[in-house]
């Protein structure tokens, strides 16, 4: 179930398009048409940065422009491609799957007459945004222009108040329907200036909250430093904030919005030109758990890669942490200028989604798969990046099992206990106690219960829980047969659910979706028994 929830959180391209239409009340499409008609001439070389589902690509291709469509998400590009194919324009477009931070690597200077960036700059972390703008400047021809469509907070007071009031509920509704949202772009003009652009014309829609800015290049290019500064130092600190975050995360860490760390380059200790570079995702808990055993023991660079605020294993599995994002992060950080050797240590548990060879090929960096547990990193570095088997193999010790139990309980608490409390308040206490009891027992006893996966282990768990029920009936509450029967069915059902679902939290087993077929069958069988037996025995 947790995996379904995570899947549901992923924005599919069509949902994204729907969400954006909802949020902009359909005005974005009209702005796109306007841009294509007014600012793009036939035959011009145009880059659509972050093309998404290809709405603007289509409009510009229809105007006979030579369009290059770039997006970091392969599913989005596929959707856009299909849309263009249906319109018969696919051959006019060059498709590039890449991070927006790699423009200078992908394109020659002066390659484009226009770059359009529609609702993309506001998606990027601040540092990367500035970096991308500077790169756009390089790949534009001298007379070229940058066309930005993005959300901004309106300037006029009434419009601003209305915007804030209307946007909040709109955002929530849109997010629930499509898991899509947008963020307003802060202090954009200043950043444009800093990157070497001069805003020339602008248009606006939706009371000024959706703006189009057309910017040309400033004549004199100041030779500012290209390298972005190190974002700061990472220290292991326990504060009220981290304690509260940990408490929340113990039960509800799979509920968004996830606490994040700003992606970029950080110092750990006092790293120099020979120090190792450790890459990780930008989920707050991930970064803190990486730092905790290293602070004070290791001097290293930490490259926090944008993983959409998700831990490395789930992010890599779900397509949020990819080779493109790692390559983009290396590039933006300017790491090469801090280092003598080009050697990156990736977490081993992102190897399910980050193509190491692509990083090696495109950056020329050495890539090493670090140990599974951060606590092993000092020993791993000491051994000159040689892993022992115990460093590369996952374990699921008691502590982790109990932690994961709490995470599932938090989620199922909302999923099961909330409806039970509302619709069957009398059942709330027994269901709560059974769920907590079964989960705790299972988390502790898991390795000793016979069976290879959660589904197989659910049989001994059911038997033990039914024995427990028998004992309870005998010693504490000698209830009539019909109610013992109902309790038994409920307990067996919950046992199967708990064992089969907790499988998804174990690093030693396949995802819990593997069990759904059987879970559904067993659930239906129990339901049938629950309905049939009282009929036969005449209890009703």
């Amino acid at each position: 179930m947790a995996t379904v929830f995570m899947k549901w959180l992923e924005t599919r391209p069509r949902d994204y398009a729907r969400g954006i239409r909802l949020l902009t009340l359909g005005r974005l499409a009209r702005l796109h048409t306007k841009i294509a008609e007014r600012w793009i001439q036939p035959g011009e070389r145009v880059l659509d940065l972050g093309c998404g589902t290809g709405d603007l690509v289509l409009q510009m291709a229809a105007r006979d422009a030579a369009v290059t469509a770039l997006d970091v998400s392969a599913p989005m590009l596929a959707e856009a491609k299909q849309c263009l194919e249906e319109a018969g324009f696919a051959d006019r477009v060059c498709w590039v799957c890449s991070s927006a931070a790699m423009l200078e690597e992908r394109f020659e200077p002066g390659s484009f007459d226009a770059v359009v960036a529609s609702l993309i700059l506001s998606e990027l972390p601040r540092q990367i945004r500035l970096h991308v703008l500077r790169q756009i400047r390089q790949i534009l021809a001298p007379q070229g222009r940058l066309i930005v469509v993005d959300e901004v907070k309106p300037e006029r007071l009434i419009a601003r108040a209305l915007y804030v009031l209307l946007r909040a509920p709109m955002r929530v509704i849109t997010w629930i329907l499509t898991r899509t949202t947008t963020h307003p772009l802060p202090e954009f003009d200043r950043m444009l200036e800093a990157a070497g652009f001069r805003p020339e014309r602008r248009g606006a829609a939706l009371m000024g909250s959706l703006q189009v800015v057309v910017a040309g290049l400033k004549q004199k290019e100041e030779g500012g430093p290209e390298r972005l500064p190190v974002l700061g130092e990472l220290r292991h600190r326990v504060t009220l904030r981290t304690l509260l975050l940990d408490l929340w995360g113990l039960f509800f860490r799979i509920l968004p919005p996830y606490p994040r760390v700003e992606p970029g380059l950080y110092r750990l200790g006092n790293p120099g030109t020979e120090s190792p570079v450790l890459a990780t995702g930008n989920f707050d808990l991930t970064v803190r758990r990486l730092i905790a055993p290293l602070d004070g023991r290791v001097d290293a660079w930490v490259l926090v890669v944008n993983s959409s605020g998700i831990n490395v294993w789930c992010a890599a599995g779900g397509g949020f942490l990819t080779a493109e994002r790692v390559i983009g992060a290396i590039h933006v950080s300017g790491l090469e200028s801090y280092l003598r050797q080009k050697c990156l240590i990736l977490p081993q548990l992102c190897a399910n989604g980050v193509d190491g060879w692509k990083i090696r090929r495109e950056t020329g960096w050495e890539v090493h798969w670090g140990p599974v547990r951060a606590a092993d990193i000092p020993a791993y570095l000491q051994a000159e990046m040689q892993k022992t088997d115990s460093m590369r193999w996952v374990r699921f010790p008691m502590r982790d099992r109990l932690e994961m139990m709490a995470v599932t309980l938090g989620f199922y608490g909302l999923l099961i206990l909330l409806p039970v409390a509302v619709f069957w308040p009398l059942l709330f206490r027994p269901v709560l106690l059974s769920l907590v009891g079964l989960s705790t027992f299972y988390a502790i006893a898991m390795p000793w219960l016979p069976g290879r996966d959660g589904l197989a282990k659910s049989l001994p768990l059911s038997v033990i829980s039914l024995l427990g029920l028998g004992l309870y009936t005998w010693l504490v509450d000698p209830a009539p047969a019909s109610s013992i029967f109902a309790r038994g069915i409920g307990l067996a059902g919950l046992s199967v659910f708990v064992a089969a679902e907790l499988q998804g939290m174990s690093p030693l087993m396949r995802g819990e979706q593997a069990n759904w077929g059987w879970e559904a069958v067993i659930g239906a069988a129990l339901g049938l028994i629950y309905w049939l037996v009282p009929q036969v025995l005449g209890w009703r």
Binding site: R21, L349, A351, D355, W369, R392, L508, N515, W516
Partner: protein, 83 residues
């Protein structure tokens, strides 16, 4: 306007994924293996071991495979498949 899939097709899709995930198995074309051992490097559950004598990888512990796909993605020879 593109419609999102209905509940029925969503369930069918999940059912298919569940079956697939349950039955996915590693297919290893040992002849293509050149002994880079990235599989051994990245497998979190110890399904791969280096055979240092023959300069190849050995697939073992099939029961333990969690079908994460790391070895498939990191094999430079494309010698591993999950089917």
């Amino acid at each position: 306007m593109a419609e999102s899939p209905g509940l029925g097709s969503l369930l069918a899709e999940h059912w298919r994924l569940a079956r697939q995930l349950r039955h996915l198995r590693i297919r290893f074309d040992a002849a293509r293996c050149k002994g880079v051992w990235e599989c051994y490097e990245v497998c979190p559950v110890g399904c791969w071991l280096p055979d240092r004598v023959r300069g190849a990888a050995i697939f073992q512990n099939e029961e333990g495979c969690i079908a994460c796909g790391a070895c498939v993605l990191q094999c430079p020879e494309r010698a591993i498949e999950l089917r």
